[in-house]
Symmetry: C2
Subunit: 198 residues, 2 copies
């Protein structure tokens, strides 16, 4: 991001797209959030779609860098599960809108990953993934199927952020109570995982 205005626009777009998604977010909203003229959006990013893809790609890479580096350092997932879960959880505390944004947009446009990344980048991702999986399976986790276990861990970490607004209604929480609930879940998760892995 070599330009100042471009960065301001990008940051505003980051917020608005995450809050509203591609279809609901309006260029007008982004321009107002950035405090710039709407036509500047086109000067820097040409089209709404380009701006959106730029934002989405940035968020995907951010997630990978934040979490992938941890996976690389640790030899075994099962040994360091608590720490791993904490890092994930803390990331989502700081980015509460990110999970729903991510899942919704991938749902609306399943092919978008191939538009955002080259074949080499996707290949590199797959290579890393199978490397991690090999590590995990060597450790063994009892008689539970590995893929189901992985999905389970992602579920218990991510779902409360995804369903934040729904849970607020079901449990009669206001915004601060909801944030408190999500934060305190960070303490709860290690206990829970201990029970599952035994």
């Amino acid at each position: 991001m070599d330009n100042e205005t471009e960065k301001i626009i990008f940051d505003a777009a980051l917020e608005v797209f995450q809050e509203k998604g591609f279809a609901t977010a309006k260029l007008k909203d982004i321009a107002e959030r950035a405090n710039i003229n709407q036509s500047l959006l086109h000067y820097y990013f040409r089209k709404k779609e380009v701006l959106f893809k730029s934002v989405l790609k940035h968020k995907i890479l951010e997630l990978f860098n934040e979490l992938g580096s941890l996976l690389k350092e640790k030899g075994s997932l099962t040994e360091n599960m608590d720490e791993l879960v904490q890092v994930y959880h803390n990331y989502f505390v700081k980015n509460p809108n990110m999970p729903l944004f991510f899942i919704s947009e991938l749902n609306n446009n399943p092919g978008i990953i191939k538009e955002l990344f080259t074949q080499e980048e996707i290949g590199e991702f797959k290579r890393k993934k199978s490397e991690y999986l090999k590590n995990i399976s060597l450790q063994g986790v009892g008689d539970l199927p590995l893929e189901q276990l992985i999905v389970t861990f992602i579920s218990i970490i991510v779902f409360p952020f995804l369903a934040k607004e729904t849970l607020k209604i079901v449990f009669d929480q206001d915004e601060s109570q909801s944030m408190e609930f999500l934060k305190s879940r960070g303490q709860f998760l290690p206990e829970l995982i201990k029970k599952i892995l035994i």
Copy 2:
């Protein structure tokens, strides 16, 4: 639904809104799916918003009838957790798009519940909820916080449906492999819950 055409429109709207959400779904899509003229949508439902609310309310009530009746019959949740989880899971196998539809729309419009239901209906829901909660807390589930446990159970059931498209990408699944994964999770869940509740 007293009219034939109205029913056809409603069913088409049910599908399209669930697949795309309110903002992304177009009246054109719904009319084409229903094989009717677009202006008929207005004749029967006046506005897109009315049609959408009609669909959303129907899905919420469907979920309540399917699952609430079970909660009413059973004395204790912990005793019948396996069966309860199976009923939930099977419901979502039949309605895989429903969770993301529901959570996205509630996220986009948190006040919509108050527009769909009367104060009496909402009060009745809260009354039932605290009744169930009383039942559960009497049983006791060790030292784990109750609300966190409830959210955990919902997480491990619902998240895989929410993140269906994302998981397809991460685990390299095609559509039929994804459905197989979701179905087989029904067998996995009781084992998992046993571990958590011990």
